[in-house]
Every structure is written in C-alpha cells, then in structure tokens.
C-alpha cells in the first residue's frame, strides 16, 4: 500500500500532465513531443489521423534503417586518401653501394681452388665429350669428396621414357627406373625424384654426340643431385634446361657451404675495402670520402657501404633539386678480380632506402654498369596509412609473430626482413642449421656439407615449398608507412675517350699512390644521385568516417525524416518510463484486487470502507461495486455520470493543468 502510494507520488512528480492511462500518456506525448510526425496524428480528423499515423511509422522505420546503414558504414572504417606533390627539403635517402661480386677472387682463391678445378674438369667432360679420352691429364687428383657431397649429373634423354643418368666423374652410369618421370616439367614440379636408385645397371651410356642430333629436342640436361644425406636413397634431381644455370646453381650451393665456415671477420677482410672501392665522393658542394660510409656485411654482395644511413649521426638533408646538389660517386669494381663462376653479371649494385633500414639489394637494388655514368633522379613516393582498425598494417613490427633477425643490425622492421627471418626460422627448425644468406639467431650455426650433409636437399625442398612461403606471407605484415624511391635512370658512357687517360691516371694515383694506371673501363663507375624537381609524392590516409561524421549524419537523417534530435529520443525514453510506471501501478492494483477477491471469498462481503459508508448515506443509487478491475482511487469517478474523457477533453485538459503549473513555477 505504502509502496503504491510512493509510486503514484513518484509518477506524479515524473509526469506533469499526462493522464494515468496509456492512451492519455500517448496523446500527451504526441501533442507535446518535438518530433514532427506524432503531433499531426492527433491534430485532425480520423482520415488524416490514419495517414499521419502510417507516415510517422514509415518515417520512423526509414530513420532506423538509414541509421543502420550509417553505423555499418562507420564500422567498416573506410579511409580517404589525399595526395600531395611538390618539392620540399627532405632527408637524402640512404645509399647503399656494393659490388656485384662478394669477394675478391685473389683473396678467396685458396678456399675455392678445389671447387674451381672440379667445375672446370666437369665442364671439360661435358663440353668435349670424347669417350676414349676420359682419363685425361689432370695432374693433381681432384677432390671427389667435395664433388660427391653435391654432385652434378648429366641426364640423357634420348629415350624419353627411360632417361639415363650419367654421373660425370664415374664410369658406371645408372638408369633411372621406369617410374621416374623426368619429362613432366611444370614449374611447380620441376624436381624429379628418382625413387629406385638401387636398380643400377652396368650399362654404358652412348656417348653424347651433339652433331648427329636431328630432332630439335635437347638430349642432354644437367641436373644437381641432392640427397637427404650422403649415400642415401632419398635423392632429388634438380633439373635445369640450361647447363649455365645448373653450373651457377651448383657453384652457389658448394661455395655457400665452404664460405659459411669462414668467420665473419675473415669474410669482411676478403671483400672489397671502402678505400679501394669508393674513389671519389661529393655531396652537394661538400667533399666526402669513404670514411663517410658505414660498412655493413651483406651475405649476397660482401662488403656494402652505406652513405647517410643515419645510424650514428643526423641524416643529411637536401634542399635543392638537380644533380649539382646530389651525391656524386666514383666507384671501382675491379672486374678482373671477380669469382668467375659465382656471379656472371658485372657492375655495382646500389640501392636507395630509408635511414635505419636494412638494404635488401636482391629485391630493390639496381645495377650500375661499368664504364658508364649512371644518373638517378629520385622521387620519394610515400604512403602513410592509418593503422588498425583502418588497415591491417604494422607500425613498428612489434605485433608480428616472427622474430626479426635483422634487429641485430639495429634496423627498423620491414616486410623483407620479416620474410627472411621467417624463412631462416623455418630453416633452423627443419634443417637444423641456418642459411648462409640470412642472419643467425643465437646459438645456431650456418649450414655446411660436413656438419649437415643433407642441408642442400633440405634447403632446396624448403625453398620451393609453397606451403612454407604462404605461412610466411600470412604471418608478416607490411608497414604502415611505405616509402619508395622512384628512380629515373639514365646512362652515358664515362669517361669519354678524350678524358679517359687523365681521369684514370689521377684516380689510380690517389688510390694506390702509383704512377701506373691501375684502373680501366671495366671497373670504373660514376654515379649521380639527386632529387628531381618534384621530390615527393605523399599519399596520406585519413579516416573517412569519424564519430563527428557519424553523429552529424545520424542527426541529419533523424532531422530529415522527422525533425528530431537527441532530446526527442530522451522524450521517447521518458514516455517509456512513464508507461512502465503505469504498468507497475496497474499491476499492483490488479494484485491488490486479487487479494481483496480472495478476502471476499473468505468473507461473503468485503468490509465496507469509509467512503463506501459515506457513499451509502449520501447516494441513494449506490450499488455495491465489484472491486475487481481497478483500484479504488481510479475506480471512483470524481463526479458520477460524467462521460469518460474523450478525445476532445484530453486535448483541453493538459492545457488547463499546465497553465497553473507553469504559472506557479
């Protein structure tokens, strides 16, 4: 009872004006709300009432539908891009220069001597195949152990279905079983596994006779035989359509194994030294020399030198376009000291990259040809992206699940570093040793033939495994700020024939302090690297949909269809609370009624209340009421006989009530 009174009072306080029934409440709401539709529902005749009711309903549902679309748009986190192009003072890119050849041949000759003799002898046998002359005059015996670790074989495909495998340094040839399918060469399955190695026939292979081949098909192919471990049956023949490719590939595998045993200091010593390679340097008007370059050991290219890496000192700025204000270098690659079988292309390898990033020359590097002047105009192409949730990129690589092995160089994260680290991690996991081309984590050694006999097989299968590549692609993320250096490359012959003599003379004198000319056309390279007239193109992203955008769009929609605002929503909430109150009151009233009924059931008549008694005295027409449906207060009308409030009266009523209320306030 107390509770109900409290509720009623609270309701009174909450709602000044609306009646006590749902209908009154609704009518009051419609009349007083700030949304546009509802007012019209109650204003005019029944037909318009119906039209406006449906219109309001339609608009309300339109609003909700469009809100749904807007919120969806917001949650899709779209971005808009803005592009800016122009010239500004920018950090000059870091310039890495390397020699295409990693080591001086004169320095590594003692390590590679055996290998070179092997390949020479092998080529001798392949290219001049004179069967009777097979025991030729090789004075020192060949190191066949080295050969057998990773042998090259010749595959005779005269008979397509039954290829014969000829070992170059062995007398007996082995036939591959019928089950081998050397022929089916798609790129994906280029490696032919010879399963039945045990079925070795003592059959002598027909001598390779190039002249009498009538068909255009090539009959002999070189292949690299890779075994799980030496003498194992689990072997793979890596076919090559070209012998040149096979030889290079074989030589790389063998030399990798040899060089991986050499300590790093020794390898650096064997490479090209800065003072030998960088002959002249000019940055803008300021002279620079090889000491301005940071040395870094790159597994592919030996010693590389980085200008303006920004590791120790501030990065240099360039505030003028044009070749006069860029970097000018003269390099010597001394081509006659190349390792003949390792790299067939001669030139300098160079790359422009950001400060504090590792140069991945195989991916992004370009060549500069000896005997030419190469001019490189640079345009910095930047892409600045928003991070999560707008796009799936990483700011600094800390959220990438791959251990970055290049962090030992103090370089920043890049996708190339991630992919290589990922590969090296797989390699260590599967093959048990690290590949020579990539950095090593703690406590792991590089692969070599002695300690890991099956490494080449393992590496080769891992390298061509699509699955492992996909794992790495999936786990690495690109960086959000992607900077590329767009280069406009042009070349000219340098030095000119007329100036050749004195230039070589001076440069030789400066480097070697000798009056003899120690340089030649095949080694010397001039490089000009400079900013173009427009040196940057920046594409930056910004969020297409912000919370402000969302709110104004939501407001616009609500306003467009119904003229509503947030306050209207609050009004609506208020009405819902009110109707809840009414429900509660009704329910409590109904419960009370039920209780009374039960009490009535106990006694035949309910005890008369005070009002009933009074009523009984004053009203002759008093009839005892069924006290079921409504609570007493409401059930008793203040004036008997007044018709129930109808539509018209409801409209007038709030005004009447509101009037004094507002006056009182």
């Amino acid at each position: 009872m107390n509770l109900k009174k409290y509720f009623v009072r609270a309701l009174h306080r909450l709602q000044k004006g609306p009646g006590y029934t749902y209908k009154e409440l609704l009518v009051w709401y419609c009349d007083n709300t700030n949304t546009h539709g509802p007012k019209r529902i109650i204003k005019e005749g029944p037909k318009k009432k119906l039209i406006w009711f449906f219109l309001t309903l339609l608009f309300a549902s339109l609003v909700f539908w469009q809100w749904g679309i807007l919120i969806n748009t917001y949650l899709s986190y779209n971005v808009t891009s803005s592009l800016s192009i122009g010239f500004k003072t920018m950090k000059f890119p870091a310039v890495t220069v390397c020699n295409a050849n990693p080591f001086k041949y004169s320095e590594v000759k003692h390590l590679l001597k055996e290998l070179d003799r092997l390949i020479e002898a092998a080529l001798e046998r392949i290219l001049q195949p004179t069967p009777g002359n097979s025991s030729e005059n090789i004075s020192p015996p060949l190191d066949l152990d080295l050969w057998h670790q990773i042998p090259l074989v010749l595959i005779d495909e005269h008979d397509k279905d039954n290829p014969v495998i000829l070992d170059i340094f062995e007398s007996n040839q082995s036939t591959a079983g019928n089950e081998t399918a050397v022929g089916n060469q798609t790129i994906a399955s280029n490696e032919t596994t010879v399963g039945n190695q045990t079925a070795v026939g003592n059959q002598t292979a027909p001598p390779p006779a190039p002249a009498n081949v009538t068909s255009e098909e090539k009959k002999y192919k070189l292949a690299v035989k890779l075994c799980n471990h030496q003498g194992s049956d689990n072997c793979t023949y890596r076919n090559f359509t070209s012998a040149a490719q096979a030889v290079t590939e074989w030589y790389i595998l063998q030399s990798t194994s040899i060089l991986s045993k050499v300590p790093l200091q020794e390898r650096i010593r064997m490479g090209y030294q800065a003072e030998d390679m960088i002959l002249a340097c000019l940055y803008g008007a300021e002279p620079c020399n090889y000491k301005n370059f940071t040395q870094i050991y790159h597994p592919d290219h030996g010693n590389c030198y980085i200008f303006n890496w920004g590791m120790d000192e501030e990065a240099l700025n360039s505030s003028n376009p044009g070749a006069e204000f860029g970097l000018k270098l003269i390099l010597d690659i001394s081509q006659q000291d190349y390792i003949p079988y390792l790299s067939s292309a001669a030139g300098a390898r160079l790359m422009l990259h950001q400060q504090k990033s590792f140069p991945f020359l195989k991916d992004q590097g370009i060549y500069a040809m000896a005997g030419t002047e190469t001019s490189i105009g640079v345009l910095v192409d930047e892409l600045e992206r928003m991070g999560y949730p707008y796009s799936d990129c990483t700011m600094n690589g800390s959220d990438v699940p791959v251990k970055n092995l290049y962090s030992q160089y103090n370089t920043s994260y890049s996708i190339q570093a991630c992919l290589r680290s990922c590969f090296q991690n797989h390699m260590i996991e599967i093959c048990g040793c690290g590949h020579y081309m990539f950095p090593l984590p703690e406590g792991v050694n590089y692969c070599n033939n002695e300690d890991n006999p099956g490494w080449a097989y393992c590496y080769s299968s891992l390298r061509s495994s699509i699955r492992h590549r996909q794992i790495c692609i999936d786990s690495c993320k690109e960086t959000c700020n992607d900077t590329q250096y767009k280069m406009t490359i042009s070349m000219a012959d340098w030095p000119s024939e007329a100036s050749e003599d004195w230039i070589f003379h001076i440069l030789s004198y400066e480097r070697d302090m000798s009056t003899n000319v120690t340089l030649d056309r095949n080694g010397i390279i001039k490089l000009n690297i400079y900013f173009q007239e427009y040196n940057y193109r920046t594409i930056s992203e910004s969020a297409a949909t912000t919370i402000v955008w969302l709110l104004s769009s939501l407001g616009g929609q609500f306003g467009f269809w119904m003229g509503g605002s947030v306050l209207c929503l609050i009004e609506f909430g208020e009405i819902i609370i009110d109707s809840l109150w009414i429900t509660i009151i009704n329910v409590t009233g109904w419960c009370k009624g039920l209780k009374q009924k039960r009490a009535q059931a106990r006694y035949p008549d309910a005890p008369p209340t005070v009002s009933e008694l009074v009523e009984a005295h004053t009203n002759l027409g008093f009839q005892h009421e069924d006290a079921g449906a409504l609570p007493r207060d409401e059930a008793l009308p203040p004036e008997p006989g007044t018709p129930p409030p109808n539509y018209d009266s409801l409209r007038v009523q709030p005004l009447d009530i509101l009037g004094p209320d507002s006056d009182a306030e």
Binding site: S344, G365, I366, C393, R469, I473, W561
Partner: protein, 652 residues
C-alpha cells in the same frame, strides 16, 4: 438490406468522412499553418507584434528557405563526385605476362626470296645517290648486279631529291629531273628549317585514279626517307605472304630462348606462347595464361622472377628495316594485347637487364562519375583484337575500319577485319596515297576515333625500374659462352658471341599490390543526411514539413478555393431560386450548425448516419467539453482579447 459492398463503403464513409479543411478562408488557413507548422520561422511571423518585426521575420524566413534551396542544390550537384582510396595489400601476386620479341622480325637469310629485289633496288639507289657501295664496307652477302628487272619499286614510289623547295626534283634512281605538280606537303616540315638544307629527300605518292592528285613526303635526312620508303615496300611484300609462312620465316622459341628460369626453377619453351606480331615477327609470351593457369610469385627479388638469356642473332638482321640490335619486351596483363611497337622496352645485348616491377591496380568509377568504359561493349567500334578492351585497341581498330572503308584494304600493322585483306599495290594500287591521307586525318583527330574511344575503367600497371649490368663479366665470359654454346650447340655448331646474347631478369621488387580505386563520395543515405542537416539547421524542418506544405498550400488551399466557388455558385443558385419563389433563406443557418466550424459544410448530402452524428445530444446537464477547435484559433482569440489595441492598430 444493403448490399455488402455498399455497407462497407458506407462504413468507410462513416469512420473516415471526407471533409474539407477546417479553416474557412485562405488567410485563416495560412494563419493556422503558421501557428501549427513544425518549421520555425513561420510561427514567428504570425506571433510577432509590430510591422518591422514581422517584416524582419518574413525576410529571415524567406532567406532561410533560399539558403536551404541553394545548399541542397549544391549537395545535389556534387552528388556524383568520387573519393580516392589507396590500399596496399601484401600478398602472393600473379606474375604478369612477359612478351619478348627480337627487334628484327624475320631472319634475313630466309627472307631473301622475298626481299632480294627490293634490297637490290635500295642498294642501287644508295649507290647512285650517295655514292655508297656496300662492297667497300662490310660484305654481307653477294650482290648480283642483275640490271634486268626492277625499277618497279621506283615506279611505284619514286624517291626524289629536292633543291631549295623549287618545283623541280631529281629522281634518285634515274637521275633525271622532273617537275612536281599537285599539292605538296611535307612529312616533317614543321621541324625542318627549310632555308639551310638544300638536300631534302622525299617521295611522292599519287592518286592512281587521278594522277594530278599527288602528295609529297619529305624528310630532312636520307636515313629517315630511305627507311620509310623501304618500309612501305616491305609492308607491301609482307602483306602478300600468308601467316603460316611468316611464322616459319621468323624465329622459333628455340632460336630465341637460350635459358629460362622462373621462381627458382627451370622453365623451357613450353612456358612460352607464340604470338605473331606483324611488325616484330614471332614474339613469345611467358605466362600468357593460355592453358588456364597463371603463375604467381610468393617471393619478391631478382632470384624469384623470370630470368632468360636471349639469343639475338645479330648477323641475320635486315639492314634496312631495323637499325638497332637487341630485344624488345613488354610486361602486360594476360588479357591485354601487347602493343610492343608502341610501349615496349628495349633490351641491350651483352648486358644483363634487370627489371624490377611494382604492381599497381587502378579502378575508376564508370558513368555517371566519369566517362570510361568497363568492357568496351558500349563503344561502337568493333574490337579487332581478341583481347580485352583498351583505348589503344579501340584507336587501332577504329583506324583500321576507316582504312577498309575508304581504301578498300587493311593496313598491315593491325589485325584484319572480317572479309578484308591486307593492302598491296598489285590489288590496290592506290592504297599508299590513301593510307597517308587517312593517317594524317587520324592524327589530326578528323576521323572521330579519339572522340568515340574512351579509356577503360580498370587497368593494371607494372611500373618498371630498369637497370643494366655488364654480362657476362670479363672473367666469367669464357666459361659462360662455352656452356651456353653447349646449351644451344645441339642445334648449331658455332661458338656464341656475347653480342648475340642478352640476359633479362624480370622480377617483383616487392609483393605489395597498390590498389587505387575511386569510390562514390556520396551515397543516398549521406545525401539525405546532409539534406536533413541543412533543413534542420536553417528551419528545423523535415520531410513532415514538406508534406505539410504540400498539404496546406496545395491540397487545402485548392479545396478552400473550390469550396468558395461552390458556395458562391450555390448562393447564386439559391438567390435565384429565392427570387423566383420568394422564400427566406435557411441554408446558411443549417450550415452554421456544422460540426466543427460555422461555414464548413459537407459536400455530400446528409445521410442518415451523418445526420445522426451532427448534433450532439444536449441532454447532458454537465458542462460539455468545449467544442473541438483549432488551438490556434483559441490562442489567437487570447491574443486579441489581451491586446485589442495593438491588434487594431495593426489592422488599420
């Protein structure tokens, strides 16, 4: 016993009676509208006291309406604008098709049968005019001095030398002078400074039907003139050779490709598709996707791309047709036609050319955002190339079609339309003149091709970074050439020269795909939101207001006007009747008893139901709630009661 249908209509009529607007007059209606509308300005107009204030409010309201209209028009006009988004996706990338051609189209040695006549003539011309005889320099092949046949070529197109732009010219072949008639126009007269050079070489093309119609093409250098002249004859000869024979005459895959390496694995000629280009002979496309599979790379870097060594047989080059040595390559999409003569990249011999690629995909929005075409199906030019649409294809097809229409035969460099054949001067003696005329028109955009052809909406682009290194290096040259000779050597028995070789590497610099796309900047939802924002900002208006305006200003006003007219007519009729009968009027009193307002009357004659509804029973002793009214009307009366003086002042 009414019919059920009638019952229902009666019921509808009862529950939803058709009634006119409650306001009796237009001004009442306007007043009611202003007071009751949801928009903000109108109410102020009515409520304000004082003329100035009311005037200001009218002005403000009108300007607000104007602003709304202006801003909404702006919004509508900017509806079809696009915003650009750039996404970068790191992923496994499809490798593009790489088409490789030798710069020289056909083996010179095998073309001898067809070209010996022409070459002989050319050499003779060189000798007579420039005093150049080949015997002194490089002896390529024996020149047999058969002077029997052969001024045919010069008869067709005479090579001429001009002196000071006079009307006389020397015939290069015969040495005799002849007079030039007809219109003269110069191929590159805009570049040539006419005064100083007295040796101007050119040729004359005449309309075969009307020999006075002649066109003269001059070149500042004999090199250009002779090459152009040679090319015309060459195309004539080639047009008569069937395609199969031409394919035979050109290089085979084995001839061109020495080694091939892709994605770390060996590949061979089976990965290449032959593609016959009219000007470049046999070209070979790597990864053409012809067998349904397109190779992709999942690792960037030079090792994992395509590496090929090409055999460029320099000795077998045509000396007049091509003057540079090497190969031409183009990186394109599998569906794209390789326009190698237009956008190919040249590859040097004795060098390793490394081409790093960066992949960008772009998409434009088609109509109504921009004028581009998705598939080319809406362009009225038949696609002669069986590849997907591009602007280049459209222009070439358009020109070829114009050529067939006006010259009667097809130009050699472009594919044949159905039913046409290539021009040669045995069948079409007039074609060269026709071709030059047409080509000039085409260049000057008079053929309308540039107007018809639109660019494609989506395109893929591979940005190339090309750099060159010496290859093979001096120390590796020896073994490299030996081994490559062995590779090749199973067919030809000669040691290769390094100037016959070109090494090419095509690889992805990174596996980032840049996707630049246009998106609609506006959607309908956003447009409506912006409308709503504008309406709300200036007038707190919404669609409801618009409906209100339509309702009040159109329907209700019309209704009131109609009602007025009806009443007038009725009154006039009644007056006439009364004049005739002399009875006092009663209608107005009856009308005054109408439900809501004194003047409102039902258009229908009172039915039983309406009659029942109209007068409420007055037997209730309790004061009845006041009759339903416009609250506005009541408010207004409150105003007039409170402020009678001001109101009167205003009314005066």
């Amino acid at each position: 016993a009414m019919a059920p249908g009638k019952k229902i209509t009666a019921r509808i009529k009862r529950t939803l009676p058709v009634k006119g607007p409650q306001a009796p007059t237009l001004s009442e209606l306007m007043r009611w509208y202003c007071l009751n509308t949801n928009t903000h300005g109108c109410r102020r107009i009515v409520v304000s006291r004082g003329r100035l204030r009311r005037f200001i409010w009218i002005l403000l309201t009108l300007s607000a309406v104007g602003l709304i209209l202006w801003q909404c028009a702006e919004l509508l006009m900017n509806y079809y604008s696009a915003s650009v988004s750039v996404t970068v996706q790191f992923q496994k990338l499809p490798f593009p098709a790489v088409t490789i051609c030798n710069i020289n189209p056909y083996k010179y040695s095998s073309m001898k049968d067809y070209l010996s006549e022409l070459d002989k003539e050319t050499k003779k011309a060189l000798e007579t005019f420039y005093g150049f005889s080949e015997g002194k320099s490089k002896v390529r092949r024996s020149v047999d001095e058969g002077n029997s046949t052969g001024t045919d070529f010069f008869k067709q197109i005479p090579l001429l030398k001009f002196e000071d732009f006079s009307k006389t010219a020397t015939d290069l072949r015969s040495g005799q002078k002849r007079k030039i008639e007809g219109s003269v126009f110069h191929k590159d007269s805009s570049i040539v400074n006419s005064g100083d050079s007295n040796d101007i070489i050119g040729f004359q093309l005449c309309d075969a039907n009307n020999s006075s119609e002649c066109a003269l093409y001059t070149f500042s250098s004999g090199v250009n003139a002779i090459q152009e002249w040679y090319k015309l004859h060459y195309m004539n000869i080639m047009a008569q050779i069937p395609l199969e024979t031409k394919e035979e005459l050109s290089y085979s895959a084995d001839d061109l490709l020495l080694t091939c390496f892709f994605d770390g694995l060996s590949c061979d000629k089976r990965h290449f598709t032959r593609f016959h280009h009219p000007l470049h002979g046999n070209c070979y496309t790597f990864n053409s996707g012809e067998n349904g599979t397109i190779l992709s790379t999942s690792t960037g870097g030079s090792e994992y791309g395509l590496q090929v060594v090409l055999y460029i047989d320099e000795a077998d080059y045509n000396p007049f047709l091509v003057t540079s040595t090497g190969a031409k390559i183009i990186v394109h999409d599998q569906n794209e036609y390789p326009f190698i003569e237009d956008i190919g990249t040249e590859i040097e011999t004795a060098a390793a050319t490394s081409i790093g690629m960066h992949f960008t995909r772009s998409r434009k929005l088609s109509k109504p955002y921009s004028d581009c075409t998705e598939t080319g199906a809406d362009i009225p030019v038949e696609n002669l190339y069986n590849k997907s649409y591009s602007l280049q294809i459209c222009l070439h097809s358009c020109f070829q079609k114009a050529m067939v229409d006006s010259c009667g035969c097809a130009q050699y460099a472009q594919p044949l339309p159905a039913g046409a054949e290539y021009c040669n001067y045995k069948k079409n003696p007039n074609w060269m003149y026709c071709y030059y005329r047409l080509h000039e028109k085409f260049v000057k955009e008079q053929l309308g091709c540039q107007q018809i052809c639109k660019d494609a909406c989506s395109f893929k682009e591979w940005a190339l970074t090309t750099s060159i290194a010496q290859w093979p290096s001096t120390v590796s040259e020896d073994w490299m050439l030996r081994v490559l000779s062995w590779d090749k050597g199973q067919k030809i028995n000669k040691k290769l020269n390094k100037t016959d070789l070109a090494n090419l590497m095509v690889f992805y610099k990174d596996l980032n795909e840049r996707f630049i796309s246009e998106n609609p900047a506006n959607t309908l939802v956003i447009l409506l939101s912006n409308f709503g924002g504008q309406l709300g900002l200036w007038m707190s208006c919404s669609v409801v207001c618009v409906i209100e305006i339509i309702e009040v200003f159109f329907i209700d006003s019309l209704f009131i006007v109609m009602r007025r007219q009806w009443q007038k007519a009725k009154k006039w009729w009644n007056d006439r009747k009364r004049d005739q009968s002399g009875k006092p009027p009663e209608a107005s009193d009856l009308e005054r008893q109408g439900h809501d307002n004194p003047i409102c009357i039902d258009e229908d004659l009172p039915t039983f139901n309406t009659a029942l509804r109209l007068p409420l029973p007055q037997d209730n002793p309790l004061p009845r709630t006041p009759p339903p009214n416009y609250s506005t009307l009541r408010l207004e009366t409150a105003f007039t009661e409170q402020l009678p003086d001001t109101l009167e002042v205003e009314q005066h």
